[in-house]
Amino acid sequence: MINTNPIIVIEDDVDDLQLLTDSFADCNILNKMIHFTSGREAIDHISQSNEQPLFILCDVNLPKQNGIELKKEMDSIEKIKSMKIPFVFYSTHVSKYAVNQAFDNVCVQGYFQKNDTFTEFSNVIRTIYNYWALSKHVTQY
């Protein structure tokens, strides 16, 4: 069975969004990509939608509310929390401090680096996608 649930992307940078779109095509990911430039929009969408997303790919460094603050708010909203959507960070900056900040403050299912070449970038996207496409989810039963 091909998983057709949409993938939610939260990314404020137009170049990175273009790269993601190219990467999805490169990996033959047919799922719909729903893109937001801020957490506010994403929260509004998920709260109102009846579609279960496959996973959320979120940039850490966002204007206004950053990724960690966004995840914190999502966890405080009962409806979104009960959807148990896998949440994955991807960011340019990776350091002990940054990764600690993410894993200490909120519960996330991964933290990936935005790579320097398109091939590597696509490999990461493919791995994340394959993993969550294979993984079982409570909403399937």
Binding site: V14, D15, N61, S91, T92, D116, T117
Partner: protein, 509 residues
């Protein structure tokens, strides 16, 4: 013992016999010379002396005995058969005899007389003995007293020579002696100084010590009579023992007031120094954190354009059959990222240069604003902006830096204006109610922002809007904040989304 002196052995024999049956011890001498030798050697209670003797007669013997100190008190009885005339009897008495008997003598009366004289003599000797022992006792006592006086004098000299207050106390708790220093604290040689305590603790300590025999040392406050202040002293109270018996107590008060005051000052100084160090430490710590955050943010934002440049290059390399359009697109993105990176680095350098040393000068804010507006003339015209400037105060500042702050604020006001509304910027000043700060207001009618993000707008590289809508590095307000802090002032803002923002600069008065 009774001595019989006679040159006639028969006389001696009969007398000796008579006395011995009456239980007297008897000694005898056959001549005056022998008698004198014997009286010097032995102790006699009575001497019975014949008058008529060859070489030395009885009178001479009696006189000689009377002249010896040792024998002068021994009673002498003359006993004579021949010299019975009155002149001899007179001579006998004047030579020191107590009796002059003429023979024949009645044996009973003679014995009675001997008994009486013997008894009298014994009593007399007893009396002398008592007298002697008494005078010896008196002498001993006098000696002890003299010794005591000497010791007391020694103690007094010692106590007088020390700088401390000192007193001697007898085991009954009566003050016996005080030194001169005492009178600085007590008006009487019988009373202790006034203590600064509620329940007379020290006096009961003294009473306890007198009872237990154990001395003590403690800190007390006693009142100086001239300075009229309680001064800190170490009070030491110790027993003086002689032959394992406490004969006296000695107490001293040692003034430690200055010492304590010096200690307190030292303590305060150490506390001050520690406080300063702690403050500096805290400052250093917060600087460190600031720096760490700076490095974190700077490295993140500098890396981003770099990564993109690498990414687009890798895409150009990988795709051999890439279209020209696509290639040109990638190249323009590379150029864009490189430009952005250059701008970031310039801004960062500006920001870090703000820490350099500086000189304050008198700055006319109206002049500065006029200069800034002249530089921004083109944008102002393009946006049809209306800018009003009131008369502003003069402040002490670094002119070039304040210019940068004002420029950043005005540029923001023009940049974040509403799409179809001409920007209106009002610049005016107020003095706060406590007169501590000169406040300069920059009020606009732009898009505004949610005050929830107030702290973020002053942090480096933080932007509230997407870059493709409003270009910028996110450094403008961070630089403004740092400059205001350097001037011991601060920057803040109030805003409402869709209505406008007001940025406020506060300069210390």
């Amino acid at each position: 013992m009774i001595l019989i002196v006679d040159d006639t052995p028969e006389n001696i024999f009969s007398l000796k016999h008579l006395l011995e049956i009456n239980r007297f011890n008897v000694d005898t001498a056959g001549s005056g010379e022998e008698a004198l030798k014997k009286v010097l050697k032995n102790d006699y209670s009575l001497i019975i002396l014949d008058v008529q003797m060859p070489v030395m007669d009885g009178f001479e013997v009696a006189e000689t005995i009377g002249n010896f100190n040792k024998t002068k008190d021994i009673p002498i009885i003359f006993l004579s058969a021949i010299n019975i005339e009155k002149k001899y009897i007179k001579k006998g008495y004047s030579s020191g005899a107590v009796d002059y008997l003429t023979k024949p003598v009645d044996a009973d009366i003679f014995i009675l007389k001997v008994k009486t004289l013997h008894k009298l003599y014994e009593q007399k000797r007893e009396l002398i003995k008592i007298q002697e022992s008494l005078s010896q006792e008196v002498e001993t006592r006098l000696h002890i007293e003299a010794e005591l006086r000497e010791k007391m004098g020694e103690l007094a000299t010692i106590l007088e020579s020390i700088p401390q207050l000192a007193f001697g106390m007898n085991p009954d708790g009566k003050i016996e002696y005080v030194n001169q220093q005492w009178f600085l604290y007590s008006s009487s040689e019988k009373a202790l100084p006034e203590f600064s305590e509620l329940k007379n603790e020290t006096k009961s300590d003294i009473a306890k010590a007198l009872k237990s025999g154990k001395g003590f040392t403690k800190e007390v406050f006693i009142k100086h009579l001239l300075k009229k202040q309680f001064r800190s002293h170490v009070f030491k109270f110790v027993p003086v023992r002689q032959d394992n018996k406490i004969i006296r107590w000695v107490g001293t008060f040692n003034d430690i007031h200055e010492q304590k005051a010096a200690n307190t000052i030292l303590k305060e100084k150490v506390q001050d120094a520690t406080k300063k160090l702690t403050e500096q430490n805290f400052l250093l710590q917060s600087r460190n954190e600031e720096l760490q955050q700076f490095v974190f943010i700077a490295s993140h934002d500098l890396k981003e354009p770099l990564r993109k440049i690498q990414m687009f290059i890798s895409q150009l390399e990988n795709k051999s059959e890439i279209s020209e359009d696509k290639a040109l697109h990638y190249l323009s993105r590379i150029k864009n990222s490189a430009g952005r990176m250059a701008k970031l680095i310039t801004d960062l350098l500006d920001y870090s240069r703000l820490s350099d040393s500086f000189n304050l000068e008198v700055v006319n804010l109206n002049d500065i604003i006029a200069e800034v507006l002249q530089d921004l003339e083109l944008i102002v015209e393009e946006k049809n902006a209306i800018i009003t400037v009131d008369k502003l105060p003069v402040v002490n500042a670094i002119s070039s830096q304040i210019r940068q702050v004002i420029q950043n604020i005005i540029i923001n006001a023009l940049k974040f204006s509403k799409k179809d509304t001409a920007p209106i910027i009002k610049i005016y000043s107020k003095t706060d109610s406590e007169n501590q700060f000169q406040k300069i207001y920059f009020e606009d009618n732009g898009i505004g922002f949610n005050e929830m993000y107030l702290s973020k707008i002053f942090t480096i590289f933080q932007r509230l809007n997407l870059r493709d809508k409003f270009e910028g590095t996110g450094m403008g307000l961070a630089i403004a904040k740092k400059i205001m802090e350097k001037h011991n002032g601060f920057i803040t803002a109030t805003s409402r989304e869709g209505v406008g923002s007001t940025f406020i600069l506060s300069f210390p008065n």
